[in-house]
Symmetry: D2
Subunit: 290 residues, 4 copies
């Protein structure tokens, strides 16, 4: 852990039309008010003429009180420069719910990071449409709620899920090989706040049984893709992808096995970036700051 | 270069229904006749119950004369065990034609390997639908034939190409970013003997402008795929694929640039495997022996 | 899971001086006795003139009774052809002990695979020189033995460890970021049966604090290496390695974090190959069959 | 090519002690004087408290005349804020000399990029200690100077090389598998301006015959490293590295072959970053901006 990250900070993520001097304007706002910038990354998408930036500064000694920062920034800068922005505070520890079905590898990978204190997040609940992995909730002492969604009872069951999510004050959701498609209402409640792992190199092999599809096509690499969930299946903004090499010797079950390692690493990398508030979404794409 | 590869060898590539003792049968044929096996690789596709093998042995001291090997093998083994096989001889130096349009990176990559003596192949001719790269033919002292194919004159121009290919005794063809689709007649003349490079990770981004498609989709890796050409566009048996990481910072022209390095390496790897007779094709897939 | 792997099999791993007909001899032994070969891989190291092979065949229907196979093979083949060989049986489920200190990522990764039934192995005990991770033993209901080795009491403490290992009938040991150097006596008891993970791309950054060394040197990739433990520190036969890209932006703690994902995957891949009896060791190197 | 990169620009690379407001200060200097920033990347090394930045802005419309920029910047900023900086102009097309011995793969790779117009650089001369590759100079119509350096005549021959380098106004040098060690005098003339490719994953396998060393050690990946040349052999600041997977089946000559593809790509990536003035060197490391 970087010790300097433990001091309370404010995090600004923004984009706007590219314009001269915009970096100077923002950084001056911070330094003039005695803020110590500990992170700044920006880039300009020249094709669209759009400017993107993430700035993080320490709150200790910052002249504007924390509860007035958003108000001041909004008044003095956001309107004037046409900024689309979001300010968050490191002192707010986000709450994350994990949805699973029957496969444990992604769940274990995240919980072992959580248990080791790698992630600055809270995981108050695991939700599943099957009871199979309830023992893992017990192992890690995390409430495991079974909500047996089927095609026919989805609307009703999702109401139950909303109740659970609200009860635990959930900020964002991770689908860890959760095998149910969410309703549009569900997605609308958590825009850019539901992360899924798809077990292929999207946009190849959309939909069901991607490893079977990959085997049939005879590809020489298989992949995994983590993305934000949108109404269009497997078509949301991609956060992270990776691949691994296979050969003609690999059967479908070998692909499934090799794929598991990809899936868990690719999903955990995406979740970590989300926790760190390093992702900015636009035009169905992501800017993932380093 | 491995010195032992310079001795004349026979190369058997075969597949058949899996059956007990098939390896013993084939290897005994060779060793009983005093052949020294310098390469053997095989594998069984359990899903289909199919056995695949590549064996290479030295001709020096082999009791069956070279010109009778195929006849003997066919009579004694192929029919009896239901083998689908191909025997070739390292003494036949294959002739390869390269088709290009306006981009030079794949062409240069192959010619520099050729000039350095890395490949046991002959490249007697380059064919192009544009004169732009004729200077490269001159640099490497290789005839460069311009055959200006368009949508309207394809049948006629392909006859010209066939004449050129026949004149030079071409064994197989490499499409090095050649921007014309071949006719079915063309493909039928060179089954599993036309290698193409597609500038995406197939089956993602089939067709035109894959880098633009990749940029629009916001993927985090781009790829390249070399494959044998079949009637179904970009859907032939895949020989080799690779990917490279990109970020939100990369414009379409950055993708094109990063992609060039992928394309040339992925194409050259495929061509090398073909030259070494290490590829076996079945069910629209490839077995690529190591 | 491949269903065909569940039938009992015999596994022969061998090497010998390369000699004509050796494949035919071995495969004939199996097929003549009605054995069904389900795996065969071999290769010849031409530099040393050595032949390596792994063959696996089903015991059902094999004419030689299981308990006599080794005797027959030894008498009829091993002496005659000068084979250095090992025959094992899939019906023997190996017992594996895990040694840990204070870091949990490799331990969790292995236990989650174990719990999910991915590995055909038994893990009856975890041994540690610290009590810190005892809770993980509890989570997975595996005995966790604390043996507080220090520099001064090593001989005595290792006797305790031997007693534990013998009590559980341990076949091989995995050092999952275990921070103690084993004595030569210890290593001699488990030749090629202790697997370690070193957190660098060996032979770069041997010894302590490899991530600090990597940071100081300014490398652009960091790696991890799993290997069999030998008397020479970090110099045993390498089983598996992998790397990940870093940049100037990564601090030492970033390297540690990125490295954890490498370490656990690289270690688990090695352990899996060992469990599958796919590794053959010679000349301080490994042959890892696919 | 990005069209916007073709407008004349100024490029500032700098580092200094980290201090509040430094980004605002620099960006204000540019925007106040009507400069349009088209690139800005910076980062803070918290371990050392050092701030690094690269800024690029268009000269068209910039209120300070090009020939006075360095003077103004030096007076108004460099001293005041303790900056270690370098300002260059895109209008200066750098001149690069390539040194080779007998291997052609890196040379061809660079010349094919050069010929295709990928690199904004001029290559007026190739220098070699052997005449073997003179034909490539002819192919690309680039003067090829043979300077037959040996251990005994190095001082004298290097004087010849200096004369050639001066005659062509060379800015930086690329050693493309050049097999001679340069004298300290030579290195001192081109600090951080000589790029070498070493055919291993440094710091593993320093010195001669790294592929033989890798083979002996039994590694599972081989690498290549491009770096600036310093007095300490193979120990200069690393610019770029990459690796490729090998197996026990690969002989030394296979490693050499697989390595060639790594070497040429890794070297060309480093050269490109140097041409783009994206590299900043400090503490025997590099910052390579994206």
């Amino acid at each position: 852990m970087k010790t300097d990250q433990k001091k309370p900070t404010a995090i600004l993520r923004m984009h706007c039309q590219d314009q001269p001097g915009i970096i100077a304007v923002i950084t001056e706002f911070i330094t003039t008010n005695s803020g110590n910038i500990i992170y700044l990354d920006q880039y300009v998408d020249r094709a669209n003429g759009t400017f993107y930036m993430r700035v993080e500064w320490e709150l200790d000694g910052f002249l504007i009180p924390k509860e007035k920062i958003i108000d001041y920034f909004d008044t003095l800068y956001a309107h004037r420069y046409g900024l689309d922005y979001h300010i968050s505070f490191s002192t707010h520890r986000q709450k994350m719910a994990i949805f699973v079905s029957k496969m444990s590898h992604c769940l274990y990978d995240m919980l072992s990071r959580y248990q080791a204190g790698e992630w600055d997040v809270e995981i108050p609940v695991i939700i599943s449409n099957h009871p199979d992995l309830a023992y893992i909730g017990e192992q890690f002492n995390i409430p495991f709620e079974v909500v047996p969604v089927t095609r026919d009872n989805k609307a009703e069951m999702e109401q139950k899920e909303f109740e659970i999510l609200d009860r635990y004050g959930i900020d964002f959701i991770v689908l860890a090989r959760y095998m149910q498609v969410l309703s549009e209402e569900f997605m609308a409640r958590y825009p850019n706040r539901i992360i899924n792992i798809h077990h292929s190199f999207l946009p190849a092999f959309i939909g069901a049984k991607p490893y079977h599809q990959a085997y049939e096509r005879g590809v020489k690499l298989i992949g995994a893709t983590s993305h934000y969930v949108t109404a269009d299946l497997d078509a949301g903004p991609i956060i992270e992808q990776d691949v691994t090499r296979i050969t003609h010797r690999d059967s479908v079950s070998d692909l499934v096995k090799k794929g598991r390692d990809l899936e868990k690493i690719v999903l955990s990398r995406a979740v970590e970036k989300h926790i760190q508030r390093k992702i900015l979404t636009y035009n169905n794409k992501t800017v993932v700051f380093s």
